[in-house]
Amino acid sequence: MPEEPAYSSAKEPQLVEWAKVGDMQAFEELVSRYRDRIYVRAYSIMRNEDLAVDLSQNAWVKAWQRLEQFHGEASFPTWLSRIVTNLCLDELRRQKRARMDSIEAMEEATGPVENRMELETVDPIEGLGREELRERIDAALAKLSDKHRTVIVLYEFEQFEYREIAEKMGTSIGTVMSRLFYARKRMASLLKETLKRDGLIE
């Protein structure tokens, strides 16, 4: 009788070692464990289901091809997350969403006037569960431009440093800082709007 206890109960480093010598079943187990996580990362950046699925699949294929380069400096899902993030950034570069980007770039670049816009205070709301807050944050993220959403996802969720984000986005650290600052202001403003609209705050 066929059984797969070896795979489903195997620890991640063991699965990775097996996959490195060509064990597709071990790799399949890794896919099974982390596919949602990788998809979430792709979706957070792309905000498009089909694209996120495609880029996730591509990330897994690239991971298979580059397994020999994985030496365990980070955890396997972290390493994979970086691969899918890079693919998303490449895809964003290919796409032109000029209209939204240029409006926000103008807003971001209008200097002192725009930057004097207050960063809203968003206090913890009693009774607002973590899950609901996540949904509201997710809805607010969807309203950002690609550039601003990317920088906030890379910083807050992927936990890159400014320098790493600058490298990945092909820009300067100063630009990363500006975009992050603007993105945070927008997020706070959007969150406050939805909370007010829903009567959760005055």
């Binding site: 066929p2 070896a6 079943q25």
Partner: protein, 152 residues
Amino acid sequence: MSVSRDNPPMNRFTVFVALLLFVSSGYVTAQADPITVQAWLVLGSSKEQKDKMEVPADIKKKLARVFKWMHYYQLNSKQLNIADATTKTTKLSKTASIKVTNRKNCKIAVSLYSKGKMLVQKTQTLRPGSYMVLAGNTGTDSAWFIVLSKDK
């Protein structure tokens, strides 16, 4: 100034003829020695199977270094004495066989046949103490291996 007929330039044809003579004069001496190849058909399995014989320790050690199975059982083993530049065929199971060719420079070519059809051919230098392995899953939680080594 035209080229003299008495002294034509070296052309490609001349070069190749010279090369042909040079190579063919040396060819008869550069032949492969006869070799002895051992071939094992192995079952890798997580389950202990007391009715089967384990492979030699050295093979188990080499396979276990790479693969995850706990047990490696010898299903069949063959010894092939192969003269230079010749091929020997041997059956390892009802439908699987291998053809082994003794090539020059210590190289061997191994072709795997299943149900009369060639699946793959691998050619490499096989030094004494090294192993060539052809392998795959058996569909259950086990795998097949064809392990080859060459004696001195």
